[in-house]
């Protein structure tokens, strides 16, 4: 099974640059900024609270993961906040945090060729909700023009280019639902690896919205109280919001400016179940992990941690755990579900998962799976219950599964200059 992936492993003649993650920005229910996020992951802090962003009257329960009401003007400096929907405010703030964290100025980025790709599930779903209310009560002709202009999904990415004044950038939003953050990271990774661009700002952003909550609630996937990945008593996910944006660049570029490097992006895999609109398919999920490991030239036995999709639904966790065991067998490392702490932040989720993986590598710990009581015997994983453990994490895998069978798996590794050279052979 191992090594049989259907596609050639990569062309020998291609000069490939190493790609490193040198800056990160985070907005989440468990912290604003990468330092606070890291501390919360280490502490196993759970960010659940009542949803107040939209009227939840009539739902039996409505807990979720909302970003605290903070003044984003510290990071959104050039664009007026009311010109941006909530998800765009988040993406811009996280992008500004990422470049600040990377110690690089917008001026300096302006001189380089770049790529901006932000993943999302709902885009400006909160604005669409409000437009739906206008449509219902007043008619579509009453929709505010400025409101309508905020809605196109690309805005969560173009707003970053506008805020930072970047012109030589390819800008797109990748709305591949709950795996979108990894898709965006993968796209930027390829563009930097081949030398097509010098840097990429990639990640994911989503804001809570009624449409999303009502949909998940209706199909029975929302937990009344907490998200418990891999637990025998798990009863669903909690919707969340937030953003994770990463600055990635070539190793040469990072070293030349003396940058602090969180981790190296080693590779990724993408595939599609082509099976069911909402249910994941075990063999296809396993194959996506194999594609990622092959792309990264990493053997399963070398992986020290898996940040699972771990949404806490009955079906996802058992399918994902089986797929992991199919690929890893006896060499399976700890498998954690950070959605227990952050909620399911939709398009941002795998971006936050990749950042969490990079932090685990950088700081030498494995974040816990919070809210954990008894592991489901059908989910054969060591999920690091409730307390983080100190660990030498050299290589981490970050899984993402989405509606539509859109899978995406990213492999990150500790950046080790001594291994510098032509690839990882």
């Amino acid at each position: 099974m191992w090594g049989e992936v259907g596609l050639p492993a990569g062309s020998a003649e291609r000069p490939r640059r190493r790609v490193v993650l040198s800056g990160a920005g985070v907005l989440s229910s468990i912290g604003i900024g990468v330092a606070e996020f890291a501390a919360s992951l280490r502490a196993g802090r759970v960010g659940t609270g009542p949803i107040t962003l939209f009227d939840t009257t009539g739902f039996k329960y409505a807990r979720g993961h909302q970003v605290a009401d903070i003044d984003l003007r510290k990071w959104v400096q050039r664009i007026q906040l009311d010109q941006l929907g909530r998800a765009s405010q988040f993406s811009v703030a996280a992008a500004r945090m990422a470049i600040d964290d990377a110690g690089i100025s917008a001026d300096s980025l302006r001189a380089r060729k770049g790529l901006i790709a932000i993943g999302t599930t709902d885009g400006e779903g909160h604005d669409l909700d409000q437009m739906a209310a206008t449509m219902l009560y007043e008619g579509l002709e009453s929709v505010e023009p400025e409101h309508a202009r905020r809605v196109p999904a690309v805005r969560i990415s173009t707003a970053i280019a506008r805020e930072l004044g970047l012109w030589n950038v390819e800008v797109s939003t990748i709305p591949t639902a709950c795996a979108a953050g990894n898709y965006a990271l993968g796209s930027g990774f390829d563009a930097v690896r081949s030398g097509e661009v010098d840097f990429a700002l990639v990640g994911g952003s989503d804001a809570l919205c009624r449409k999303n909550f009502a949909g998940f609630y209706r199909i029975g996937l929302i937990s009344p109280d907490e998200c418990r990945p891999f637990d025998a008593e798990r009863d669903g996910l909690l919707t969340g919001e937030g953003a994770g944006v990463m600055l990635i660049e070539s190793e040469e570029s990072a070293l030349a400016r003396g940058a602090h490097i969180y981790a190296e992006i080693l590779g990724y895999g993408l595939n599609c179940d082509a099976h069911h609109p909402v249910a994941p398919e075990e063999n296809s999920v396993a194959r996506c992990m194999e594609l990622a490991l092959t792309d990264a030239n990493v053997a399963p036995g070398d992986v020290d941690m898996i940040s699972a999709h771990g949404s806490g639904t009955k079906m996802n966790d058992v399918t994902e755990a089986r797929a992991i065991n199919q690929v890893y067998g006896e060499s399976r490392p700890p498998v954690i579900g950070i959605k227990s702490m952050t909620g399911h932040t939709m398009g941002a989720a795998s971006a936050l998962g990749s950042i969490a993986s990079a932090l685990a590598i950088k700081h030498g710990f494995i974040p816990p799976t919070a809210n954990h009581h008894t592991t489901d015997p059908e989910c054969i994983v060591d999920c690091v219950p409730n307390r983080a453990i100190e660990a030498d994490v050299r290589i981490a895998q970050n899984n993402a599964l989405a509606f539509g069978g859109n899978n995406s798996v990213v492999i990150l590794g500790r950046y080790d200059a001594a291994e510098a050279g032509d690839g990882h052979e």
């Binding site: 259907g6 596609l7 990569g10 062309s11 291609r14 009539g58 739902f59 060729k113 709902d122 669409l128 437009m131 739906a132 449509m135 579509l140 002709e141 929709v143 309508a148 202009r149 809605v151 196109p152 999904a153 690309v154 173009t158 280019a161 506008r162 004044g165 970047l166 012109w167 030589n168 950038v169 390819e170 800008v171 797109s172 939003t173 990748i174 709305p175 591949t176 898709y183 796209s187 390829d190 563009a191 081949s194 097509e196 661009v197 449409k211 009502a214 949909g215 609630y217 209706r218 993408l270 595939n271 599609c272 179940d273 082509a274 609109p277 989405a402 509606f403 539509g404 069978g405 859109n406």
Partner: protein, 369 residues
Amino acid sequence: MSDATRSTQRTFIYDWSAVSPFGIGRAALSEGLRARRKAIADQCDDGAPVGLRRVPDFDVQQVLGAAGTRYLARESAMAIAAARELIEAPRPGVTMAAGRGTSMVLGTTTGTPQGYMDFTKASLEGARPHHVPAALAPNMAMNRAASASAIWYGLQGPNSTIAGGRAAGLLALSYGRRLLDHQRADQVLCGAVEENAPARSWMEYHRSRGQVTTLGEGCVLLLLEGGDPSGRQRAPLAEILALDCRFDAVGNDPVGTLEACVEGALSTAGATPKHVWAAVPSGIAGEAGDDETKLFDRLFGTAVVSRVPVASLTGDTSAASSMFAIAGMLSAAEGHREAEGRLGVVTSIDPDGSVACGVLRFLEGSWTP
């Protein structure tokens, strides 16, 4: 130095398909454009004051059959119908293999805003807020059109949706080419889709500040492959020579940004405007569109610019506009031997600031029967 992105391998277009306001299929679009016929425009009751050119008689269940289509959104059905032509009725000699090596990359503006708003509306007006139609839940994800196509045809390669407003087509092309370059797929069905509905009409009306007059809809897919085309049963239609995507960061000079973008793309292609056989501007409404037309006339001359009118006939297809332009060029080059070896230029301008330019070279396959 050129800023256009360089591809390390070559990317070819072997086939294309379309669902357009002229009907379903390549032939319908080709015939409509060749005759320079304007597709029929209607207005919808609660839509913006713009004409809508819809795909005629596009009833989802009639087009795709009754099985499993009851809850399929219009945009998903259009994407599946476009994929069907590439897979079930390709050009003679072209083979499409479903499975692990086949990817789908689909550009969009915002999926189906009408569908999302109707879902929220059901939550707001139902007896309970969760009284939303469960069967429509899968349609709430913006990747639904691409993933529904993958399910329909067993496309297990990367399945990616690219939101880019009016630049979505060229951004999807850039993404799709990157997948081939990095050996993440053997074949890519690469295109864009847009559906007409009242919500979209208002959104585009406001985005264009009341300038847009006619909206079109549909889906165009290109079949992309890398690798050496020699020895293939069928010659490719065209090669993608350059793609240049930028952003008007200042916010008031999209056409100035576009001019640099076109220069960059032509430079990457190793070409000058005199090599261009057909040039199709973005078709954006308003001042930017007028300025773009002037730029095109100046760079390429009116004969080259007027060779393939697209947006004026189909209506503004937003996310799909640059894909319709490419389909229009490929269609126009058919039967024109003098186009072989010459270039096609397509551009995009989005009201949010994205601009893009693609340069392709027509190859033998575009005129051989």
